[in-house]
Amino acid sequence: MFDFALQSAWLIPLLPAIAFAVIGLGTRQNKQLSAKIAIAAISVSFVLAWSVLGAVLTNNITVEAPFIAKTVWTTIGKIELAMGMLIDPLTVVMLTVVTTVALLVEIYSLGYMAHDPGMGRFYAYVSLFVASMLGLVLAISFFQMYVFWELVGLCSYLLIGFYYYKVSAREAAKKAFITTRIGDFGLLLGIIMLQIYVGTTDFAELQLQLPHYIDVSGTGMLTLIAFLLFIGPIGKSGQFPLHVWLPNAMEGPTPVSALIHAATMVVAGVYLIARAFFLFNQIPIVLEFIAWLGAFTAIFAASIAITQRPMKRILAYSTISQLGYMMMALGVGSVTASMFHLMTHAFFKALLFLGAGAVIEAMHEEADIFKMGGLKERMPVTCKAMTVGVLAIAGIPPLAGFFSKDEILAAALEHNFFLFLIGSITAFMTSFYMARLLFVAFYGELKDDCPAEETNDFMRYPLVILAGLSVVSGIWGHFFGFGEWVRFGAPVHEGINFFVAFSSVVLAAAAIWLAYAIYVEKRWSAHGLAARWGIFYNLSYNKYYVDEFYVIVRYYGCFVVARILYWIDLNIIDGAINMLAKLTGAVGGTLNRAHCGSVQAYVICFYGGAILVMGYALIYAYKVLSMAGGAF
């Protein structure tokens, strides 16, 4: 009954794209109509995406036997560029997650953006983003994926800079675009080299040809290609050291943060590696690198999040940390755990961001959690939803985060004990800073001048739905065989590892208790602790000075080189030209003296010249005649 969905899956990205065109070209000025068009388009995509899920389940489509429909788009020389769609369980997870979160976020934006004059523009951009993201998910080749990869980057840029009249938003948009471009460049190089050395970028063909290629040529060049391909995800998915753009990306409207910079776009890198896992799987050293970089990013970002004060920035570093988790899961070879966490994370992180947006809007753009407090009484629904989100990300059973994090930690434990250790410490920190956010903002004492009120229905119900998804998506994935479903033949952990589950629950509970003790009971003073651990506090609060490091790199890498080049340009290149001009001037000045104005002097020159010519003619004639026989 769902077969129609497979044949019409191409409509899923096309409808939001049409919505973008209609809103962008026509109805931009009409806020309500624009919103309705965008939401109608995404609703149909949403229904189609879930129908595709049904089709995949009923038609027994697996990762090994995907549904592929493609057509040749253009031919350049011998290279055939095909566009099409590849549908397998991996695609469907992303399709459902993206359309679900996008639909909820667009409904939420009806409330959030209601008073913004740019609401039509907002819906146009979001529709374009959803179209690009869904196109990326359906891509059949690296080439097609790259096209949409750049498109989502563009949308991210447009939406971060949505409040373009704010300097910080413009700067953040530029930073995001330039930083991710560095990664995209690596990805592009990787794709080009793949085309040159292996001869195709099509996922299905690559999967067939790769073993043959390795038999013939070995893995040397492939290792380089895999590293280059991985640079793209480092930029897009905010891995260290290109994570710096993601916290600044929160300058955009909060629904955008929820949709793009938490739930969907930033996981494009994770998705790319999962999609091309058959390639990375051939090169253990790259996988090892991915695992350790992911683990490092996870613990690094978590340790920053502990001391941050603005609510959205805490969530941003939390996102980086969770993306590191997903990368680590991929690196240890468990696509299942990574995709499972990607799905649950999308739900609870979107929930947290939308909740944060509601709170910040209610607080009249005040983002510092220490200036909030006691919001539980003012915003009960939001508070309950946020509590669910925090418990989900902390990994308290039976919420979503528990199951997916358990999968990742179990996979890490099988691979390397230290990765498991880093993962567990990160989980502890995650629980701590999320509990800190919750306790400080919602539970403490209500401030006297607190302006917060419960938000409107459009903003409240998506939170409730996402909270519900955060509860059930883990259990559903666990008991209905997510691991059976999304797999690449790589080691997949089945069932709960009780050692891992027990230790992570104890750690999460301990962290929440610690946060409760510090921020609610005030058993220890937070300021006292910060003063006692001054160095670590400062390092963490200043984000390990990575931004400052980039400023220095930019200064020496860019400005100093530019100044040297400027000096060379000024003194050597311009100098040569100026010298030539001066030389001409000097010669002219010298010769000018001969031009004295006295007619008689000219006559002397004239006769002098005539005598010279005559003399030369005589000598020449003498030579010619003497050769002819000596007439003289």
Partner: protein, 114 residues
């Protein structure tokens, strides 16, 4: 006793070298005057001398040349006509110059430069 016959021949049998010598001397005198005289009238007169030296050359080559015809004389007459025109214009310029500048000294007329 002076050999009158020989002296007569020397004087009367004037050949091409004599004419060319006269012409060269005239030309040199004219050139010397052209370069050294300060008065524009004298300069013009020297130019006339040089033109006439050329005319003597033309006539001499016509008289003693290997192919006697009247081309040389014709050219000399053309030269004389041109010289007359030149002198007329030159004198007119000199008079005009004197009225404008109150001088005919060529050293003071040195504005013709870049």
């Amino acid at each position: 006793m002076i050999d009158l016959q020989k002296a007569f021949e020397l004087v009367v049998n004037i050949g091409l070298p004599h004419c060319l010598l006269l012409s060269a001397v005239l030309f040199s005198i004219g050139l010397f005057g052209l370069l050294t005289r300060r008065s524009i009238i004298a300069v013009l007169m020297c130019v006339e001398l040089m033109l006439n030296a050329v005319n003597i050359n033309l006539v001499a080559f016509n008289r003693f040349g290997s192919m006697p015809d009247h081309a040389g004389q014709l050219m000399a007459i053309f030269g004389i006509v041109v010289a007359a025109a030149e002198v007329a214009i030159g004198m007119a310029l000199a008079i005009k110059l004197y009225r404008e500048r109150n001088t005919i000294n060529v050293d003071e007329l040195d504005e013709l430069k870049g």
